[in-house]
């Protein structure tokens, strides 16, 4: 029971996580479904050349700024490789 209390996310963290996901699709005007499709397509292409962990791969669109000047949105893909050899 004690573990459960410790594990439970605070509403602050829940809000942060929800916003981060929400804003990704807001910013590029693309739905979470579309992000999922992009992710699957990337996985398909990479899988041709190496074995990757499709379960834990992540893609994200971020908007970073330097001194208030906004850069263009960037697509980051985090794809764990399981085996380089084919």
């Amino acid at each position: 029971m004690f573990k459960n209390i410790l594990k439970r996310k605070s509403s602050r963290e829940i809000a942060k996580d929800r916003l981060k996901i929400l804003l990704i699709s807001d910013r590029v005007n693309c739905s979470p479904e579309m992000m999922e499709m992009i992710k699957n397509d990337i996985a398909k292409v990479i899988s041709k050349y190496m074995k990757i962990d499709t379960e834990s791969m992540e893609i994200q669109i971020t908007k970073t700024s330097i001194k208030g000047r906004t850069k263009n949105p960037t697509l980051y893909a985090n794809i764990p490789i399981l085996d380089l050899k084919q």
Binding site: S10, R12, A15, K16, R18, L19, L22, L23, D26, S65
Partner: protein, 263 residues
């Protein structure tokens, strides 16, 4: 050199009008010539927050339509001789004015005022387009809540697309007791998500309601929100002021224990 500042948020009820009134009043208290323009046509509010509702003769739409000269429509503030309000029209709607007319009117005001502050309506439609049309910089107001932050993010995107040069963030209605409990996003969380420079942190302070009831902006008064708005004014004017203890969220208790640790 005059600066045109739009105060905007996307979502309604997060404190745009309160921020406009306090920043405008604070800058005027510093001796600047300031005009506050209420661009929320049909739902005017800045006049009541400023306590000037009984002095209105003409309004923004009258100026744009040429029913009066700009000077005739300006309402002089009760407290500061260098502070003026251009009220919006209550009986018209947003389509009564277009962005080109706003730009033209603002260019006429530029040589008479140090700061032109535009109180933007909620939403992203014509009223928003009118308000940002002539602006050099923006203060984006948000509260630490999901809905308000989401709308702020959308507004920031639109401001950038409209090439507003400087966009700063005001986080309003912060409750440090809730942040401490883990039930509210901290200012760092919000800045992290929106990634624009922070210019003000305003605690949730019941004195804001009291001040609005009285039609007296509380900037500079001996209240938490009053000090917070004062600091925003300094920063708008280019002075670097550290974020105060209460702004960072150091509680009374931490201070007490801090004293004991030091001794």
């Amino acid at each position: 050199m005059s600066e045109v500042i739009v105060v905007t948020s996307g979502k309604g009820g997060v404190g745009k009008t309160t921020t406009s009134a306090n920043v405008g009043t604070g800058l005027a208290a510093m001796g600047k010539k300031v005009i506050l323009i209420d661009t929320d046509i049909g739902l005017r509010n800045l006049d009541v927050v400023m306590g000037l509702e009984s002095r209105i003769v003409y309004n923004l739409v009258d100026v744009v339509e040429g029913n009066c000269r700009i000077k005739q429509a300006l309402v002089r503030d009760k407290r500061y001789p260098t502070l003026f309000l251009l009220p919006s029209a209550q009986t018209r709607d947003k389509s009564a004015v277009n962005p080109a007319q706003m730009v033209k009117m603002i260019s006429h005001l530029k040589d008479q005022f140090d700061y032109i502050i535009l109180d933007c309506p909620a939403g992203i439609e014509q009223g928003f387009q009118n308000a940002i049309a002539g602006a050099d910089r923006a203060l984006v107001v948000t509260t630490p809540e999901v809905s308000s932050i989401r709308d702020a993010d959308r507004i920031i995107g639109l401001l950038e697309a409209n090439e507003i040069q400087k966009i700063d963030l005001v986080i309003n209605r912060i409750r440090y007791d809730m942040i401490k409990r883990g039930d509210m996003m901290s200012s760092d969380d919000v800045v992290d998500i929106l990634s624009i420079p922070l210019i003000g942190l305003v605690p949730d302070d019941e004195n804001v309601v009291i001040a609005t009831n009285q039609g007296e902006p509380l900037v500079g008064s001996n209240t938490l929100a009053g000090q917070a708005y004062q600091n925003i004014c300094y920063r708008v004017n280019g002075k670097e002021v550290p974020f105060l203890d209460f702004e960072r969220g150091i509680s009374f208790w931490t201070k007490i224990t801090g004293i004991f640790h030091r001794s």
